[in-house]
């Protein structure tokens, strides 16, 4: 990917705001408020209700990511290390992987009912398969010579896990999470339309379709965008920091 400089990003953001402002000024519609009014509403609402909705959404997304990493990374490592076990599960994963998990949302909500748990599970499912597949493939791609060398330094199964498989799969985990955050937040929105009174999805829908408070709706959209971007940038920064060896300037 092209390396971006901070001022390029800020300049683009400003240009987008100017564009929004021009279009909104020309259109003069209640469903398209001016950007500064949305920003004012955002800063006014965030310390109150909007902030709580934001935290509810953040909690669900973080729990899903945490749960997915905790379950998918070890499963991927085990499958990646064991060709035989992988033969058994590969067809199943092959079938389940491409299913858009969001269509399962109504079913999961029916089975698991109200509360946070079914919403966490829906997002978890999306991340789970992404992480599982990437970690499995990265573990399987570890060269046998590397394993032999490290075994010859005294490593048994546990040390191989700690010193080879774990660090080797870290980039895969972070890449999978980063790639899935967009979908995860989108699905979070859908999941929060059902059976809850908290979360940004609910907030946006309520203000847009019931209260017709469009400025507040836009503030909700902004909050949800910030949630997605914040997570994306956090994972991106983690990836850059922990996987420096992958982005070296080679001679």
């Amino acid at each position: 990917m092209t390396k971006l400089r901070p001022w390029e990003i800020i300049l683009t953001l400003l240009a987008l705001l100017v564009f929004w402002h021009i279009v909104a000024s020309i259109a003069q519609l209640p469903i398209l408020p001016l950007p500064h009014r949305v920003l004012l509403t955002f800063f006014k609402e965030f310390p109150q209700n909007l902030g709580i909705h934001f935290l509810a959404s953040l909690y669900r997304v973080i729990s899903s990511i945490g749960l997915a990493v905790l379950l998918a990374a070890p499963a991927g490592l085990i499958l990646g290390q064991g060709p035989r076990l992988n033969r058994v599960f590969a067809p199943l994963i092959y079938l389940l992987y491409p299913i858009p998990k969001v269509v399962l949302a109504p079913i999961i909500l029916l089975f698991l009912g109200v509360g946070d748990f079914p919403k966490i599970i829906i997002i978890f499912l999306i991340l789970f398969f992404q992480i599982l597949v990437l970690v499995r493939d990265s573990a399987a791609a570890i060269r046998p010579e590397l394993l032999l060398s490290v075994r010859s330094l005294g490593a048994g199964r546990r040390a191989l896990f700690r010193f080879v498989y774990l660090p080797a799969s870290l980039p895969a985990v972070l890449t999978a999470v980063r790639q899935s955050i967009g979908t995860a937040v989108a699905v979070l929105y859908v999941a929060e339309l059902f059976a809850t009174r908290w979360g940004l999805g609910y907030y946006i829908y309520l203000n847009g379709s019931t209260l017709f408070n469009y400025t507040a709706m836009y503030a909700g959209v902004l909050a949800m965008s910030l949630l997605g971007m914040g997570l994306y940038f956090t994972v991106d920064a983690l990836e850059k920091r922990l996987c420096r060896w992958r982005n070296l300037n080679l001679p």
Binding site: R143, L146, S152, G156, A159, R244, W245
Partner: protein
Amino acid sequence: MPMLDAHALSFSYAGRAPIFADFTWSVTAGEIWTILGPSGCGKSTLLMLIAGLLHPQQGEVTVAGEVLTRPRPRTGLILQDYGLLPWATVRQNLALGFEIRRFYGPDGRHAPSDERFENHAAKIDYWLKRVGLDQLADAYPAQLSGGERQRTAIARTLALSPDLLLMDEPFSSLDAPTRESLQTLTLTLCREQMLTVVLVTHAIEEAAFMGQRILLLKDPPHHIPRIIENPHTPDVAFRSSAVYQGICGQLRAQLSASERLAPEATG
């Protein structure tokens, strides 16, 4: 006393013809051996058996008086492909062996039972200097040349003070000048540390330059070891001596003799 004793080894990969059949061979402590043979002759298999990474179907391998059941902590292994962790710097790669030992503690299985967990940083610094990598300590393997990577692997292994060093085609992917300088460096270091060395190679010149004694493996199954004595003088001048040329010629003749008998065993 033999450092290494392969006694009545029989080995074959599942569903394949046997590679070793009742094969007995021994190495005296402090000797530097090369194993020479064409691809597929089983020389790497023999090294893996000695390393404890493969297990014979019959017979046993004894190293330093103990029958081998798993890789032993005092045997060092260096492969053609370097085996460096791509996510770790040169210094971190050198520390890997110590970290694994620290991870298990001095259990005698993964780490020597007399392992002392101090002065590792000093040892690492010493070996970085010794192989000329102190300027590159914070570089990652991808930033190194092939020769520098293999230096890292050698330093990582020797830093653990092995008594037996096994090498499988360690210099085969390096260019000629790098290869020759690493051969000389390896010989110097191994003499210094009084190591017993077994080096596997398919290159006649390497076998003749490195090995005090040369084990020739031709077509499997191997039964009786064919050993060539090399009146070895471990300096650069040996490479241009008539003795060296003679040994090379002898090895070449022996190898091609086997090819005529079994033309399929080439490569």
